[in-house]
Amino acid sequence: MTLDFTAVWKSLPFLFDGLELSFLLTASSMLGGIAFGLLLAVVRLSRLRAAAALAAVYVNGFRAVPLVLVIFWFYFLVPLAIGHAVDALQSALIAFTLFEAAYYSEIIRAGLRSVRPGQWQAAYASGLSYVQVLRLVILPQAFRNMLPLMVSQAVILFQDTSLVYVISLRDFMTSASIVATRDNRMVETYLFAAAVYFVVCASGSQAAAMLNRRRSFA
């Protein structure tokens, strides 16, 4: 058997379109997830009991269902609730962000707790307010501790973007499937897809490991 990658090269623009969507989903739900996850983590660690309980229900709820269900849910149920159809991309972005927030909030919560209590005391003692203590003293330290975990979560997220095929969005994996069946070049196309995933994810993991090593010197 000989491998013929001509079909793959010809389809590169098409494939990279899909890759672009995967990156867009990854980046935006990572940023959105971290922002919302930070809020969830802070609320969970606060003394506002009721709010903390609600945040816990949110986090544990989203962590208990598969991502593909959340994607479905937003695409088919939200239109029922608001009375008109929603854009598939928008609904995917929202679903991913809400889902990732649950995971990022756990990473951030652990990160916040990794900072010694004495740091809170010292910062409070100098007259800083709660928000200032968090922003100027605790988060910079916590962030350093959680960066490796955040990067590996982003790698998982990147792989999970392939799930948007269920609402007919064309991410990288879906694009590859289309090319593979259309040109009947299964082996070549999927080899190429695997190589792309490998390069992206391995460099992400490598970056995480590097950050981890650098942290131990600080």
Partner: protein, 269 residues
């Protein structure tokens, strides 16, 4: 039973307060019958203490006696369950806004330094100046440099805490506490986490501060410092203030039996 609220007459320095002479003579820190408990465990029991302006008070006692908790109550880091605390005319724990204002006027030094590890020595000293006192960057830096020189570390401004020895870190921490021009300083076992050869350099800075007339409450086992710098000694055991004595008298003739035993234990070696 000792009268724990008895106050040593400390000379009232003129020009210390813009207010009337009477105000300048009011105690800087006043604890009235404060109690604190964690659940059913009583940590502080009916503790009263009054510290005058410019006075140095050393708090000592066996571990677990509530010394650290007592001084953390003074700036509201530990909330109290009963009693009241007034610092420089402000009631502790009344409102968040007042607490923040008050904390900025009391410097605190911790056993484990608690310098911010992600900031350089200079940035550590600038942080509260810029974000609490709203000083300009240049003004804050100038002040920080002057303070670093004062604690004997003029060449360490760009070092991160992890690059400094324990004694150097604690001196930076003292400079950081002084940066907001505090009216009083609290020290929570400032030398207990230090290697023996570094204790001296930290105590020297503290002695200097005491000589300059800073109001200080110091939890420490360094009896040499207590003898040399303290006006009064507070002896605590099991959450109670058992004795408040003039330093000289405390060492020569402690009033309580428990203090006598404590002194013989720590001075024996």
């Amino acid at each position: 039973m000792m009268d724990a609220t008895v106050r040593m007459p400390v000379e009232c320095k003129s020009g210390q307060s813009a207010g009337a002479a009477g105000e300048a003579c009011a105690p800087m820190i006043e604890l009235k019958e404060i109690s604190k408990r964690y659940g059913s465990l009583g940590v502080l029991n009916d503790c009263s203490l009054s510290v005058s302006r410019g006075e140095v008070v050393v708090v000592c006692g066996p571990s677990g006696s509530g010394k650290s908790t007592l001084i953390k109550c003074i700036n509201g880091l530990e909330p109290i369950n009963a009693g009241s605390i007034i610092v420089d005319g402000i009631t502790v724990g009344k409102s968040t806004a007042e607490m923040t204002r008050l904390r900025a006027r009391i410097g605190m030094v911790f056993q484990h330094f608690e310098l911010y590890p992600h900031l350089t020595a200079l940035e550590n000293i600038c942080l509260a100046q810029i974000h609490v006192l709203k000083r300009g960057k240049e003004e804050a830096r100038a002040k920080a440099r002057a303070l670093l020189a004062r604690v004997g570390l003029p060449d360490k401004e760009d070092r991160y805490p992890a690059q400094l020895s324990g004694g150097q870190q604690q001196r930076v921490a003292i400079a950081r506490a002084l940066a907001v021009d505090p009216v009083a300083m609290l020290f929570d076992e400032p030398t207990s986490a230090l290697d023996p050869e570094m204790i001296g350099e930290v105590l020297a800075v503290m002695l200097e501060l005491a000589r300059e007339g800073m109001t200080m409450v110091v939890v420490t086992h360094e009896m040499g410092f207590a003898r040399g710098a303290a006006n009064r000694i507070v002896f605590m055991d099991q959450g109670k203030i058992l004795e408040v004595s003039e330093a000289k008298r405390f060492f020569e003739a402690p009033a309580s039996e428990r203090a006598r035993r404590f002194l013989s234990q720590i001075l024996a070696h």
